[in-house]
Subunit: 378 residues, 2 copies
């Protein structure tokens, strides 16, 4: 009946009063996420057997919660990222006490997705940095003119920052309209590269409506930008995927977590840091994923951040490992500790903190760069 | 300095240990959502005065939480739904203890959005039903063939259901591929209408990647579908807006909450039912919004559902009121109570419950229709 037998697995954590209630919840997920129909009224045997989700494992864990792995026929996802996410967590996002912990997707399904175009290695090759953490900053604040922002980008590139992005709130405001900003900033970074012999890139924020994001990505490419910043929760995860897979664009993509916080596990609901910022972001084609580091002005714990780092590199068939990019209130005095935690397979994002270090942005950038060089492997 | 002085307001609820901490949180939101930059380093006076958010009110409330209204310059939103959402709740979605309660948008900003094309009145006119609640069901389960699903749609239309939609999990699975399903179902509902003289519509689920959603919407229109089902959290809220504003499509849009649950207030984080399913869904162009009714298999309370209903009709300039569409485990024996709660300005969604009523789907549909007729206003 048009069913291959191939299945993908989702590991869920369930909060429930007791084992019986938790098992009932797992059974409910099997129906809710597929047929959404009273089981006793399903006439066709193959729908009951193959289309309805299947409990592959179920166990209680310390703390009074339950873990279950549920498998779904790959055909339920219809080769679409949107529908895959719908099966994983669509309706049950509205039910209490259910969180997604981990995905396990068979090759047959992974092959429907191209994943990150560059990944860790591709980005390193493009930036010609093979043995140290990468450096990343943002130009801001909103309200500056395009010329002002370009001057900041120039200074950062001159100081040796590898990746210089628009702040994620810079879209097409009248203060610094997209086209003017992107042209000026890309040009400024190229100019600095010519002076230093460096390979810094300017990353343009193309977060916008879907068509407009594609249009802006093409403008950014034409203007000489070296990458794209996309906030997938604002534009749609699948729009990020489409940008990543578009061969006429072909630029590295950095994922920004704006508006995505609601998806991260909160209490006993949501999607794990590991699956959301790691596995799902990779399926959706980003080459690096920004998230708030522990110890900054956001709320992720050290353990959660390490889970993200693990999710960026866990084996997923041909889907490349990507860079974790911790940021969010980081300062230069935290870099050494961050390197101890993440090692060298990381992009350090310092935005406002780079400006705080001292009055000269070029010097501050140099300082940041020298720190990173000190971690360079043999 | 290119600032009109027009501002939009967001009312937030803050969880904090004490008033001082809550006020600091409000101040932090003003910066985080706009400049994301150390305040003391902002050189330009106009950025500090006009671009940074402004606390318009702040008060403690019963229960140890705090309410604050923060205003932002309309220019920060750059006339884009994505950036408007970013200013409202982008980065702070990742910070604990902040929830969005209510939006207040000036005419100058509302006029950047077309909003629902039909709204309540437009949908009533199209369906020629002026004085009773509308009836809505879903064809399912996944795994049936397009012919099977079309037969269900035919029976529901014959029985007098006004709106017959694809289950939201039906996209383009091999069991019932999109084009075949939509053609057959639209045809089946037209056939039933010819027999009954009714005006039932078939609503095609076009939830997919952005380009594909538009392509499917055009196919659905050409095939004779009478509306579109869109899950905005899967495709992107702005993609729904684009579908609603596309004059070459011009069909009523029904918003489905799949994958949207994470945004709804959970503990002290998220977006209120009122703002998410009411105000934001209207800005994004839906004519009706599906949500899980209280007393069904989901977790919304009666008060939260009433908040949604209030959000669907609160004055928002030219942005039309839309239909609340409570569903999610509803059954025919609950309809009378639902009418008491919602009145007649509502769409009742009964999916699986319609099949449960008895063996004959046409009869079940008739029964549902007769119930609704009994509420008709003189």
């Amino acid at each position: 009946m048009r069913i291959s037998g191939e299945r993908f697995m989702v590991n869920y954590c369930l909060a429930a009063e007791n084992e019986k209630a938790a098992y009932a919840k797992a059974r409910d997920i099997c129906l809710e996420q597929t047929v959404e129909f009273p089981e006793e009224l399903i006439a066709a045997e193959f729908i009951r057997d193959a289309v309805v989700g299947r409990i592959e494992s179920f166990e209680s864990e310390a703390g009074g919660t339950y873990r279950t792995t549920i498998s779904y026929a790959v055909e339920t996802a219809a080769d679409e990222l949107t529908q895959l996410l719908n099966v994983i967590f669509g309706n049950i996002s509205i039910k209490p006490g259910i969180s997604v912990r981990e995905l396990s997707l068979p090759e047959s399904l992974l092959h429907k997705f191209r994943g990150p175009r560059f990944g860790r290695l591709g980005l390193r090759e493009r930036l010609e940095i093979l043995n140290r953490p990468l450096l990343h900053t943002a130009i801001k604040p909103m309200g500056l003119t395009a010329a002002d922002l370009a001057h900041l980008a120039y200074q950062c590139a001159l100081g040796g920052i590898d990746i210089i992005k628009d702040d994620h709130g810079l879209t097409n405001q009248s203060f610094a309209p997209f086209e003017e900003r992107v042209s000026r900033c890309a040009e400024a970074v190229h100019k600095a590269n010519q002076e230093t012999g460096g390979k810094s890139i300017y990353v343009a924020n193309v977060t916008a409506g879907a068509d407009e994001a594609v249009r802006r990505a093409k403008l950014a490419k034409a203007a000489g930008a070296g990458g794209l910043l996309v906030a997938p929760a604002l534009v749609g995860l699948d729009v990020m995927r489409a940008l990543a897979e578009d061969d006429t664009i072909g630029l590295p993509i950095i994922s920004h977590p704006a508006f995505q916080g609601s998806y991260v596990i909160n209490g006993d609901s949501g999607i794990s840091h590991y699956a959301l910022f790691g596995q799902i972001t990779r399926l959706a084609g980003a080459d690096a994923v920004i998230y708030p580091n522990f110890g900054g002005r956001f709320s992720f714990s050290r353990a959660e951040c390490l889970e993200i780092a693990r999710g960026t590199q866990v084996e997923m068939g041909h889907i490349k490992p990507i860079f974790p990019c911790p940021g969010g209130g980081m300062s230069l005095d935290k870099v050494a500790d961050m390197q101890k935690v993440y090692g060298n397979e990381v992009i350090f994002l310092i935005g406002g903190g780079l400006f705080r270090q001292g009055p000269d942005l070029v010097e501050n950038s140099h300082y940041f760069r020298n720190l990173a060089e000190s971690f360079a492997l043999g």
